[in-house]
């Protein structure tokens, strides 16, 4: 009798386990461009720095405010999934002028899991930027597939 009960419990557990991954999303679905702020000491040395940001907005119209009045060492920005480029306006709160950065990339929609659905992965190609406050910039990781990594370094 006990054996039959155990078999029933095991079968029900298997049935429940089989359907879990279709209904529940257990993975992070955010995919964002990670930008770190750095201070260049000389041609070979630099260290990460905090930037007092007045705002970060999208370049397209109407602009969307992404970050407002904060001191940050790094930011994570959403890339445009409908186009092969994204533009952002970054203005430090020490100035009235802002810098614009343009990121060019290739996109691919990927099924993350049946529970989570599709996300867009990006492969960065190039970037362009103004130099009102930015000294230089570099792409350190071209593959944008999550929210945890740093992809671009901006030197102030």
């Amino acid at each position: 009798m006990h054996l039959r009960l155990w078999i029933m419990v095991c079968l029900l557990s298997i049935i429940a386990a089989c359907n879990q991954d279709i209904h529940i999303c257990e993975e992070p679905t955010d995919v964002k461009l990670g930008i770190g702020f750095y201070h260049q000491i000389d041609s070979t040395q630099y260290h990460d720095t905090s930037l007092s940001v007045a705002f970060v907005k999208t370049l397209h119209q109407p602009p969307v405010l992404l970050i407002d009045s904060s001191i940050v060492q790094s930011i994570a920005l959403p890339l445009n999934q409908l186009a092969d480029s994204s533009g952002f306006i970054i203005q430090p709160d020490t100035s009235n002028t802002a810098d614009t950065i343009l990121i060019y990339y290739a996109r691919q929609q990927k099924l993350l899991s049946p529970g989570c659905g599709f996300v867009t992965f990006f492969a960065i190609d190039t970037m362009r930027y103004t130099t009102h406050h930015i000294d230089s910039a570099s792409i350190v990781n071209k593959s944008v597939i999550n929210i945890h990594e740093e992809h671009i370094r901006l030197f102030y």
Binding site: N19, H60, Q81, Q109, L111, P114, G117, F118
Partner: protein
């Protein structure tokens, strides 16, 4: 074909017998303590056993939208060694209206061998076997995403579709199980299987297959499975095999 096979086997038995006589003579001359062998001849039934996996009938209840059919055929090639072919079809439909609609269908086959570990003398009139074996599996799957939706409140929502893709899977598996005779030509059996994927189908597509037919979940490199099958045996022919018993020594 049958006559040729029987003829070949007869020649082999005669040759084996002659060789045995020669060996026995030499052995007897060298060591008189070893006595003659007592070889025995057994008839091996080469029945074609065709099976239908009954456990797949339950699949739509375990996973709505999934349909699986699996059949097998095996035959004893030499005593206690069976050649096995397994074939199947798989169909999957996932409809998550707010996220995506996915459809796939495909087929698979496995080829391999089983080794019977039940002593053949235990009951020569029955066809029961307890076995372990190996399989090499291959699956071809076609999948389509009719629609997907990604919510993006900053830049705008993304809607799209992905045309038909073909994905292949290749794997090795070990199997162990039982086949028990329940009627004259009918057997019932179960098996447990462990599988390991040999290729990386998920790397070649942006839609990793949800299920690889005949293997299991496409997100895993290893899979375990259980089969419960009904078999029908078709007697084809029998061949005689000679079993050499080890010589016994005089004390």
């Amino acid at each position: 074909m049958k006559n040729i096979f029987v003829c070949f086997i007869s020649l082999w038995i005669v040759q084996a017998g002659l060789a045995q006589q020669k060996t026995d003579t030499v052995t007897a001359a060298k060591d008189t303590a070893i006595i003659a062998r007592h070889d025995s001849v057994i008839m091996v039934a080469h029945d074609l056993r065709i099976g239908l996996d009954l456990s797949r009938i339950a699949m739509p209840f375990l996973q709505p939208g999934r349909r699986d059919v699996e059949a097998s055929a095996d035959m004893q090639i030499i005593p206690n060694w069976y050649g096995v072919i397994e074939l199947g079809y798989h169909q999957m439909h996932i409809d998550k209206t707010d996220l995506f609609q996915y459809q796939s269908h495909g087929y698979f086959y496995r080829i391999g061998i089983d080794k019977n570990i039940l002593p053949s003398e235990s009951n020569p009139y029955r066809h029961d076997i307890a076995y372990f074996g190996f399989r090499l599996g291959h699956a071809v799957l076609q999948q389509t995403v009719q629609h997907y939706h990604i919510t993006d409140t900053i830049w705008g929502n993304v809607d799209g579709s992905i045309p038909r893709q073909t994905v292949q899977g290749l794997w090795l598996e070990i199997v162990a199980g039982l086949k028990i005779q329940i009627a004259k030509y009918v057997d019932l059996g179960w098996s447990v299987r462990g599988r390991t994927l040999l290729n990386h189908p998920e790397r070649k597509t942006n839609v990793p297959p949800y299920v690889i037919p005949g293997f299991g979940k496409g997100s895993n490199r290893q899979a375990f499975d259980f089969n419960y099958s009904l078999f029908f045996r078709i007697p084809l022919f029998q061949t005689a095999y000679i079993f050499h018993k080890k010589p016994s020594s005089l004390k």
